[in-house]
């Protein structure tokens, strides 16, 4: 090794030589080295290396191992365990990631799912948290035309994945072509897609990547949308990235369906989905994509999306009329006019010129189908763009930014949803104010402090009172947007405070007996009801009801809805006779105003059935539950969670009526459906397993029931925790079945376990406590502990009588008590 001095000399000469033009270097070095051949050779060879490759080491070390990393992580994943699922096969590859068929085997049930592994994900701890929040929002989507998100998480090596309902079908465009659907059939199918997207928007979720391959149609002709919200997760993964990265990602994401704002990296809103629906509609109606480009180059396509005006659909019918079962002249005629205008309005370059919501687009199509004039004709109201939220692109990842963009997204979509109902002036003022809230998230204004989402909203809420006091309408709008966002974040109290202040304001402005005040009261009541605060909800509903009776009439649907609300409160407080009476009134009005088969009538029937079941009037409950379940099945399909819930209620009444054989068959089916639809560990499946086990036990098949009740207890304990009422009830039924098996020591252990859990709980409803005590009493009696049995059963009887529950439960407890008394007499003899 050379000495430090020698190396220093070499370095100096190297640098001096580099400062000279290349042709002078040799001469310079010869003179400088002055007879030191080794020094000369040394510097010359370094210069040669320098000249040979400028790029050497210029990309950092981490890039050098990227390929190895790739090689190590690539490769078949078949057979690998992925979270709780086993990978069965690769079923698709896309820009966003690979899709696998997964299965989950929990002993007797096998559930097939689609697992999407995203490959763009970098997941740090904060991102992980946000990802989980996102997943919760997505999991709320329950719609017959949206593939359900079952699970999601992050793999050990940091890639986010989604587990989704597996949908088998073909892309909507291919389906229409194969089936040779005519224009009207295509429009009707498209309307279903619009409804699903609208539903998601109401739940504050924008799809962002709608395209035929995400919209599958099954062999029964039902459309299902896949990948809701996933694009958003993706784009937030890239939050720290520049427009370059956004563009790169866009390329991964099928630019054919991308809206201009997505190409530009501008904020994505509900109008972005409207655009994608426009592209889809274009393709469904013409068989062609909207833009004609000469080369298959992404850049050219991007330019077309930004600049080219698409031709009217009626001019693009040349090649494909046969797929519509018609000729091209007919097809042209059909498209000219309304449909041209509708499609082009959805495809407007500027989001504010498009239909504001998928529903608005759908309404125009419905109007067209009904032969009514459409709104896209003539002047359009120009709404100002909702570009306020994502404006503030922060270069690096501010700690709060993730939350801000989440909250921003919530606010943006909430506002979008409300915007349609606002006049332009009010909309503009509301937008400006919301924008100013987010200006504070700009690091230059935040002064180094990290603002949390809550602080930001709090700040906005405070400023409503001061800065907007001259614009009460805008005050209300902003208050409602922020209140909704609070609720999304679980900040119910803050939401309530805000809405209460707004209520006072509306009372002054619109008058205390105005319809607007009644609406706001209902909203407040709903918020309290949703939290289980019935005492708070009741006066709100009552006041709203009295206003609505006065302003809208006794038989108005609003009054019916309010009666239904109040009945819910009454039932939850145990005032069953009032609840029943109000539900019957509500039902009568809905049947009269909305029809026998309306959703509203069905909802009320469902509630009324609950009232009957709570009061152990199972025959009456069963009649309604059967009707409700078939309504759901007709409207949502047999596998929809709501349908399965309704079937569960129906089967429960069957079991209570002693029709165990019918109940057993139904519960077996319900458990299988829950497994498929919600997953094997879902608490609803846990409850259904318990009911199935009870039905089998009732039929004298205790040994078949045992594994089921064991699994049920396990699931419910995992879900609710070991010290929860569900655990106590589960254990007590397990003890009953064990006593029948007969497995005396297990039965004794579990009934004591159930009793201990119950003992540690506060505020248990008497009827629930009575179930546990009755079960424990029966088990104690069976194993000869008559003192224990008598005490428990006596308490159970007292509890039931205090609640005026004098039906099946009381009979069961009382007859067990009588049995104990008889045994005592026998023992004495």
């Amino acid at each position: 090794m050379k000495t430090q001095q020698t190396w220093q000399r070499i370095t100096e000469l190297f640098e001096q030589a580099l400062e000279r033009p290349r042709e002078e270097r040799a001469e310079f070095l010869l003179a400088a080295c002055n007879g030191g051949p080794e020094l000369l050779r040394e510097v010359q060879s370094l210069l040669a290396e320098h000249d040979a490759e400028e790029n050497f080491l210029e990309s950092p070390a981490i890039a050098a191992v990227a390929n190895d990393v790739l090689a190590d992580t690539e490769g078949p994943r078949i057979g690998e365990q992925f979270g709780r699922y086993r990978i069965e096969a690769l079923i698709g590859r896309g820009g966003m990631g690979d899709v696998f068929l997964g299965s989950r085997n929990d002993g007797q049930f096998e559930q097939h799912v689609a697992i999407k592994l995203l490959k763009h994900g970098f997941v740090g701890d904060k991102t992980r948290l946000r990802f989980l929040q996102e997943r919760q929002i997505l999991a709320r989507l329950e719609h017959p035309a949206i593939a359900r998100l079952i699970d999601g998480g992050v793999t050990e090596d940091g890639a986010p994945f989604f587990v989704m309902e597996r949908v088998q079908g073909e892309p909507i465009t291919t389906y229409c072509k194969h089936e040779r659907l005519g224009i009207e059939q295509r429009l009707r199918l498209f309307l279903k897609v619009c409804d699903a997207v609208e539903y998601a928007h109401h739940n504050l979720i924008v799809h962002r990547d709608l395209k035929p391959s995400n919209i599958l149609v099954d062999d029964k002709g039902h459309a299902k949308l896949l990948d809701f919200g996933i694009a958003k997760v993706l784009s937030q993964e890239n939050r720290a990235a520049t427009k370059d990265a956004t563009r790169t990602m866009m390329r991964a994401m099928t630019p054919e369906y991308a809206a201009p704002e997505q190409i530009r990296g501008d904020p994505v809103t509900t109008a972005t989905d409207v655009y994608a629906l426009g592209v889809l509609l274009y393709e469904l109606l013409t068989g062609e994509k909207p833009y004609r480009i000469t080369r298959d180059a992404p850049l050219e396509l991007e330019r077309a999306i930004l600049e080219q005006d698409p031709s009217r659909p009626s001019t693009r019918t040349g090649s494909s009329a046969e797929h519509f079962g018609t000729n091209s002249r007919e097809l042209r005629k059909r498209l000219r006019g309304d449909l041209d205008r509708i499609v082009l309005k959805a495809l407007e370059k500027r989001p504010e010129r498009r239909y504001s919501t998928p529903e608005a687009l759908a309404n125009d199509i419905r109007r067209h189908l009904d032969g009514l004039p459409i709104s896209a004709r003539g002047d359009t109201v120009v709404y100002r763009a909702g570009k306020f939220v994502h404006r503030h692109r922060i270069g690096a990842a501010a700690a709060a930014f993730i939350f801000l963009s989440l909250v921003g997204g919530l606010i943006a979509t909430t506002w979008q949803a409300r915007r349609a109902q606002m006049e332009a002036r009010k909309a503009e003022a509301t937008k400006n104010f919301l924008k100013s809230i987010f200006a504070a998230s700009d690091p230059t204004q935040a002064q180094g402090k990290e603002l949390t989402a809550k602080q930001l909203l709090d700040d906005g809420a405070r400023r409503i009172e001061t800065e907007l006091k001259d614009q009460p309408d805008v005050q209300s709008e902003v208050a409602r947007v922020i209140a909704t966002t609070y609720q999304q974040l679980g900040e119910y109290d803050r939401a309530r405070t805000l809405l209460m202040a707004d209520l006072e304001r509306r009372r002054k402005i619109d008058g205390p007996r105005s319809v607007q005040v009644a609406e706001l009261l209902t909203e407040l009541g709903d918020a309290s009801y949703g939290q289980g605060k019935y005492d708070e909800a009741a006066p709100m509903y009552e006041e709203a009801l009295s206003i609505q009776r006065e302003q809208l009439g006794e038989r108005s649907p609003e009054v019916a809805r309010q009666l239904w609300n109040i009945a819910g409160v009454k039932r939850n407080r145990g005032d069953y006779s009032t609840a029943e009476q109000m539900q019957n009134q509500s039902l009568a009005i809905f049947v009269e105003r909305r029809g026998e088969d309306s959703r509203e009538a069905n909802d009320v029937r469902n509630s009324l059935a609950l009232t009957y079941a709570d009061t152990e009037r199972y025959a009456e409950a069963l009649a309604l539950q059967t009707a409700v379940a078939s309504w759901y099945e007709r409207n949502y399909g047999a596998d929809h969670p709501e349908t399965i819930n309704a079937r569960y209620n129906q089967a429960s009444s069957l079991l209570a009526l002693g029709r165990a054989a019918e109940a057993e068959q139904m519960f077996a089916d319900i458990v299988a459906r829950f497994t498929r639809v919600l997953g094997a560990r879902h608490y609803k499946r846990g409850r259904a397993l318990r009911m199935w086990a009870r039905s089998l036990d009732e039929l004298g098949r205790s040994h078949d029931a045992l594994p089921l009740i064991n699994e049920s207890v396990r699931i419910l304990r995992d879900h609710f925790g070991p010290a929860h009422l569900e655990a106590a009830i589960g254990l007590s039924w397990q003890a009953i079945i064990e006593a029948h098996a007969p497995m005396r020591s297990e039965a004794e252990r579990d009934s004591r376990g159930a009793f201990d859990v119950l003992d540690g709980l506060k505020n248990v409803a008497p009827r629930h406590a009575a179930i546990v005590k009755t079960n424990c009493g029966i088990v104690f009696a069976a194993i000869g502990k008559l003192d224990y049995a008598e005490r428990n059963l006596t308490e159970a009887v007292a509890l039931l009588r205090s609640e005026h529950l004098e039906g099946a439960s009381l009979n069961r407890a009382q007859s067990a008590l009588d049995e104990v008394a008889r045994r005592r007499v026998q023992d004495k003899e």
Binding site: M1, K2, T3, Q4, W7, Q8, I10, T11, F14, E15, S45, L46, L47, E49, H50, A52, E53, F56, L57, S59, P60, A61, I62, A63, A64, V65, A66, N67, D68, V69, L70, A71, D72, T73, E74, G75, K119, H120, F122, V123, G124, D125, T155, D157, G158, A159, A240, A241, A245, T248, A252, I394, A396, A397, A398, A399, F401, P443, G448, E450
Partner: protein, 189 residues
Amino acid sequence: MATDGHTVTEMLAEWSDSGNREALDKLMPIVYDELHRQAARYLRHEREGHTLQTTALVHEAYVRLIGQAEVRWQNRAHFFGIAAEMMRRILVDYARKRQALKRGGDALKLTLNEALDSSSEQKLDLISVDEALTKLAGMDKQQARVVELRFFGGLNVDETAEVLSISPRTVKRDWKVAKAFIRRELRAA
């Protein structure tokens, strides 16, 4: 850097002076983010998508950083100086492990890797770079540090200058000669 340097420095000081766990908890996500950002930037650039393992690498850096309890962080520059050193150790370790694995065999995997590797350009041997860098440090510490910060730490010229408290011009000069030296060493090997 998202949070300004001042705050990070304060948190660093609080942690290394008093061993305050809370300060560390607050700090780590920020450090992690920064390391992460660097890794992400280059890997995205280099190759779309396949970023999984990078996270694990950075994770390792993070764990080691926490392990450096006795270090007194003076400021942000100091911190990223240390971080670059971490990255060097981690990446070279990774390369060594991988080499050992290849030698050990697992024929199927090897074939697969080679097939994939053939598409990428000539590969850089990190282990040799590391050895050359150690040799360079014996002759000129500053030049070696410049390489460490730029090549392993992913810092740009100005950031490197800040960390070493020298001028950007000096960084550029050191960088050129150091690169030439390392390249020659690699070819001789």
